[in-house]
Amino acid sequence: MSAEMDALIEIVVKGKIKEAKDATQKCLDAGNSPQDIIFTALAGAMEIVGEKYAAKEYFLPQVLLSANTLYQGLNLVLPMLPAGGGAGAGTVVLGVVEGDVHDIGKNIVKAMVTGTGATVIDMGKDVPIKDFVAKAKETKAKIIAESTLMTPTLAGMKEMEKILKEEGLKGQIVTMVGGGATSKEFADQIGADGWTYDAVAASKMATEFLKH
């Protein structure tokens, strides 16, 4: 890998926001393609950030700093990708289910999954279940990722499975659930396709689902 790419990785990992755009431009100037910059440098950097978070070496402030640094670089190279093609990894629709506004965890998942090169459509918080499904159909998304920290809102996740089944989309669109109130047992019980404890595991699982 070129020295420019190494430099960009370090900038994202260390969260040097102001240097990210220039460093990304230098990677382009050195002849790296936008795809390579996304999949190799930016994805590699967020993987390192994820490892540091999992090891409790990084906490939320550092992750937010790296995520915002990542977006600086991404905003430069994303528009250069072929129209409609995205980076090629696939599309994930994500959000916090209706009735809940706790979105920090969702935002970390967004940063981590964006870091893998996937196209992430962020629906925000307090999102009606039907809106998730409509957006996933419209964008031909492979994954709907939904989170909640609360318990009353778990019912919405169950409704998601019902709607997807009724519309014959179950399997074609896979569901990933997460957040403080969820568990592996709960995900299995409602028939969700995946559950992870944290954002690092969520991004790895999303990458696996997008491969198939």
């Binding site: 969260g15 409790k56 906490f59 939320l60 402030p61 550092q62 937010l64 700093l65 915002n68 009735g99 809940d100 506004v101 979105d103 920090i104 965890g105 935002n107 609360m150 318990t151 009353p152 809102t153 403080g180 109130a181 568990s183 047992e185 709960f186």
Partner: protein
């Protein structure tokens, strides 16, 4: 020993005195649909009417047999009083913050000044005043028999409610002075409110500081942006016991929580109960840590009974749910937890 009232038993547990058994009491949000149906008092009305709040707050003892009474049921009263927009929620759903009254945007470099009302003004109106009244009603009606627990919000969490928690956390690295400015501004309110709750009749103030959990802050950041403030706004209260509640896996944070000087720590089931007792080693009283989602919400009464026994046997000073109850938890599961401890 068996002649102890629940109040005597819980207060002895705060002092970590040896007893035949620990008390079992909900120190976190205590209301459930089962208690609402039994008392005829429902959310959201009980969040703002002092009489209704007191009636529902007594239900954990009167309906289910727990050994305390407690109010209120959410962490939005303070933020709403300070200008945040709050959705009152539904019968089974706690109130939610819809809009933060101030802006902190580290990416754009926009930082509002913390122009908020002073502490004395804060206590005079809105839902904090209703909570104070509910505590004094509880004290009058139940003060001889049950300990009165009042819940409030920690300074870092409240500052996050003012400006958006994610932005507050992000600003710790971008503009730490702006973060300090906000916590400095809200902490006198937390301090005055904690003391006012005691003065209104609370035996125990249980302050929740969820935004300072290890999912968000490192233990060092906890000390700088939450712990040192909690020393003043909770641990220093005069005439009552102080309990600090933090969610998530608090194992690596236990020393820092003890360092605030509070009477007791209230923690979640993500910490193994025996390991928590071993690490705390009598430096503070321990309250918890039966899981709210599992076993209480999703398990059977038998699961709840077993978990209650595990926590009691591990040596927790008070057996309690590890976090605020989901309103959907069935009566039978809560009664099984009570039975596991009281027999």
């Amino acid at each position: 020993m068996s002649t102890m009232t629940p109040r005597e038993r819980v207060l002895a547990a705060m002092r970590m005195e040896e007893m035949d058994r620990p008390p079992v009491a909900v120190f976190t949000q205590s209301a459930t649909i089962g208690q609402m149906e039994a008392t005829g008092v429902f959310w959201p009305a009980a969040h703002s009417d002092a009489k209704l709040m007191a009636k529902l707050g007594a239900a954990q003892a009167e309906v289910l047999g727990f050994e305390a009474v407690r109010a209120p049921f959410c962490l939005t009263a303070e933020a709403e009083r300070l200008g945040a927009k709050v959705d009152p929620g539904k019968q089974d759903r706690t109130p939610m913050l819809k809009e933060h009254p101030f802006v902190m945007n580290p990416m754009e470099g926009v930082y509002d000044e913390p122009k908020i009302m002073d502490a004395q003004e804060f206590l005079k109106g809105g839902r904090p005043a209703a909570c104070l009244e509910a505590i004094s009603i509880l004290k009058k009606q139940y003060g001889d028999k049950y300990p009165i627990i009042a819940g409030n919000t920690g300074p870092f969490t409240l500052a996050g409610h003012m400006v958006n928690t994610e932005n507050l956390v992000f600003a710790i690295l971008m503009e730490p002075d702006e973060v300090v400015k906000w916590i400095d501004a809200v902490n006198p309110i937390c301090q005055a409110y904690s003391q006012a709750l005691v003065d209104a009749g609370a035996d125990i103030v249980q302050m929740s500081e969820p935004s300072a959990s290890t999912d968000l802050l490192s233990p060092d950041m906890f000390d700088d942006y939450a712990g040192k403030y909690i020393k003043d706004s909770l641990a220093a209260i005069d005439g009552g016991y102080s309990v600090l509640h933090i969610c998530g896996d608090t194992y690596s944070l236990l020393d820092n929580m003890i360092g605030t000087g509070v009477t007791a720590l209230s923690i979640e089931e993500k910490v193994d109960p025996a390991k928590a007792v071993e690490k705390v080693a009598g430096r503070a009283s321990l309250v918890g840590n039966v899981g709210v989602v599992h076993p209480l919400l999703q398990g059977t009464p038998d699961d709840c009974f077993k978990h209650g026994q595990i926590v009691a046997k591990a040596g927790f000073n008070v057996v309690s749910p590890g976090c605020g109850l989901s309103a959907l938890i069935p009566n039978d599961n809560l009664k099984a937890l009570v039975k596991a401890v009281k027999g």
